[in-house]
Amino acid sequence: MAAVQRLIGAGRMPYVFLFPNFVFFGLFVFLPIGINVVFSVTGGPALFPSERPFVGAEQYAYLFDCGSYLDPSSCREDHFWRGVWNTAVFVLFQVGTMVLVSLVTALVLNRPIRGRGFFRAVYFFPVLLSPVVVALIWKWILQRDGLLNAAITSLGGQKILFFVDPSWAMFWAVFVSVWAHMGFYTLILLAGLQAIPSDLYEAAEMDRTPRWRILRRITLPLLWPNMIVVIVLSLIKGVQTFDEVFVLTGGGPGTATLMVVQYIYETAFANQVQNFGLAAAASVVLGLVLFALTLAQLAATRMKER
């Protein structure tokens, strides 16, 4: 390494260390993104780009051919827009609930309560499970002859077909997702809470500051960087949601829980014809949305830091 440094100078050495990773990322991240963009401007069922006829922006024009973007049924590719709106609703409720529940749990688990270690492990445990396993467990609980309906009927109630009613299906999709991932976000917030200097709380207690004011004036402002991380990560993960909801509801009833990633998967692989071009165009749109969201969140973080 010393010889290399002598040859190229110390200032260029970081690039030497970055180069292998850059090659790796180029090959397995940027090249596939490039191929995806190529697919989005070509058509037909062939898999090799060289065999696919160039169609320009046709796939994008097809996706965006809508009477009103607020009404999926006015769009030529209505399933894409149903996926977009379902994902937006899912993200709105899932991120909101996730942040709130994780925050409350982290605040409670930060207190010196009995069995704190046990509870921390319990809330983190679902994070270790595969999303498919999570969805199957909840499917068994929620199906017609599942545990929940058994409990309801034992109390004299009627069975509820949770996966037949659109509102229930979306509710359980959000609930299961929050249940499965909140442990991870709780851990991030817990780490943030433990990094807050304890003398600030001691001083506030000496001043007899009410608890809610301590929360508002000390805890939340100092926890904000961690909150941003939680919001950004859960937002990105929420937009990408597929496996859990797909196994739990199959996107139904109708298209009530069809997420945009499921639309991309089905368009590319499950449908005959497998429409790789349209799926690629939809995934480019999704990628751009995620990119914009991430930039906006990073900008918000920087503004707060200043």
Binding site: G252, P253, G254
Partner: protein, 430 residues
């Protein structure tokens, strides 16, 4: 210098000797990959047959990759498109995969045998305009048809509708039974376009115009769609099957039927072996002829074909294996042990015994064999059409939305037509 020369000579001689010893073996030894899915015991039977083939043909190894049915529909087409597919696969979307099929004629022992025994079904595996190639054979011929839980009818004290009963007759009867015995699924239809068209053809759906181009929405189709829609409204069909998932997802009612929750289940002859095994003595079940409508009592023909693919590097070995599996003796044993309706004209003509079948399974197979004789020409035309799966998928996706209350039937009809047109246009882009 001399030592270097002697070293090179020794190495060269050693290499030549090694080549002489192993070369012929390597040249002859080939490995074939066969992708396979099972509804019943056919994977076990095929494993047995392959063992026997390999005992007779030591130079050909066959690896049987047993996969779920979903993988056949979703992964296999991508594998084939990328040129990385198996040598042989058991498939149901034969028309859709015809472009990747291997014409085995140059390598087959007797192509005339194949033409004579699989002739009508070979068209299902060929691309449009091709009348000669031989890409595979039928591992089974299937017909759609209803399975009925006879015990539930007896418990409810309701008489079974007769042989020429209409769909309406059956709908009334199964609802009456379900109400009396508290069964949650009076009538279940697989969430599958193929199964829907059994109903649609019996209602008079024509599917194609005079030129043979798709014209899916007609009066017969609308009658069938309206029936399915109304049955859901009336609680004759539960929304849990057609209305609880989205898109093109297949949803069967096997588990519900074997748990005695379904009074009548429209599925197909391929379920016979499975129900014989899983239901056992839990209750009495029977297969009944396809119910009738304005267009007759036709069911939908179908089946699974074992197809060879042109991406194979060993077409001779593939043809040798296929010749063995398609031979009358071997295939007869396969049909007999799997309880499949034969897709081999010679075997079908001679008749086939199912010595391992239970009395229920034997009776069901008789009903399905009789149903096969009543299949309407339109039903064969749909099955043989290369883009049929595009039509099937559009129908279940859009009809599913209407059933879930997301749209109405008129809107669903428009969407089905648009989906079919758009997807066929996409497939034709080269």
């Amino acid at each position: 210098m001399r030592s270097v020369t002697s070293l090179i000579t020794t190495f060269a001689l050693g290499l030549a000797a090694a080549t002489a010893l192993t070369g012929p073996v390597l040249a002859q030894s080939v490995t074939l990959r066969m992708t396979w899915y099972s509804d019943g015991n056919e994977g076990e039977v095929m494993t047995d047959l392959l063992k026997r083939f390999q005992a007779e043909n030591k130079d050909i190894a066959v690896v049987l990759d047993q996969v779920p049915f979903k993988a056949i529909n979703e992964n296999l087409p991508v594998q084939l498109a990328s040129g990385q597919g198996p040598d042989i696969a058991r498939v149901t979307d034969m028309g859709g995969l015809a472009r990747y099929a291997l014409d085995m004629r140059p390598h087959l022992k007797d192509p005339a045998y194949w033409e004579a025994n699989f002739g009508p079904f070979l068209t299902w595996m060929r691309t449009a305009g091709d009348t000669k190639s031989i890409p595979g054979f039928m591992t089974q011929l299937t017909v759609t048809g209803p399975f009925v839980n006879k015990t539930l009818f007896e418990q409810a004290g309701v008489a079974l509708p007769g042989p020429k009963a209409t769909w309406d007759d059956w709908a009334k009867a199964v609802k009456s039974v379900a109400d009396k015995v508290q069964a949650p699924y009076p009538l279940a239809l697989d969430r599958s376009g193929h199964r829907f068209f059994a109903l649609a053809v019996s209602q008079g759906a024509k599917v194609f115009d005079e030129k043979g181009e798709p014209a899916v929405i007609d009066d017969g189709f609308k009658r069938a769609a309206q029936l399915v829609y109304d049955w859901h409204k009336a609680g004759i069909m539960s929304k849990e099957l057609w209305g609880s998932v989205s898109g093109t997802a297949y949803r069967g009612a096997n588990d519900e039927f074997k748990n005695a929750q379904v009074v009548m289940y429209l599925s197909g002859s391929w379920q016979t072996a499975q129900f014989a095994k899983t239901v056992g003595n839990a209750f009495d079940w029977i297969a009944v002829p396809n119910p009738c409508g304005a267009g007759g009592c036709s069911s939908m023909p179908g089946g699974a074909g074992l197809m060879a693919f042109k991406s194979t590097k060993n077409p001779e070995a593939v043809a040798k294996l296929m010749d063995y599996l398609a031979s009358e003796k071997v295939l007869g044993e396969f049909y007999s042990r799997t309880l499949f309706v034969p897709g081999h004209l010679g075997i079908a003509k001679k008749g086939i015994d199912y010595p391992g079948a239970s009395p229920e399974a034997n009776a069901a197979l008789k009903v399905f064999t009789a149903s096969a004789a009543e299949v309407a020409p339109t039903a064969y035309q749909i099955q043989g059409y290369g883009n049929s799966r595009i039509i099937f998928n559009a129908v279940i996706s859009r009809l599913g939305q209407a059933i879930a209350g997301e749209t109405n039937l008129d809107e669903a009809y428009k969407r089905i037509t648009a989906d079919v047109t758009q997807q066929i246009a996409e497939r034709n882009k080269q």
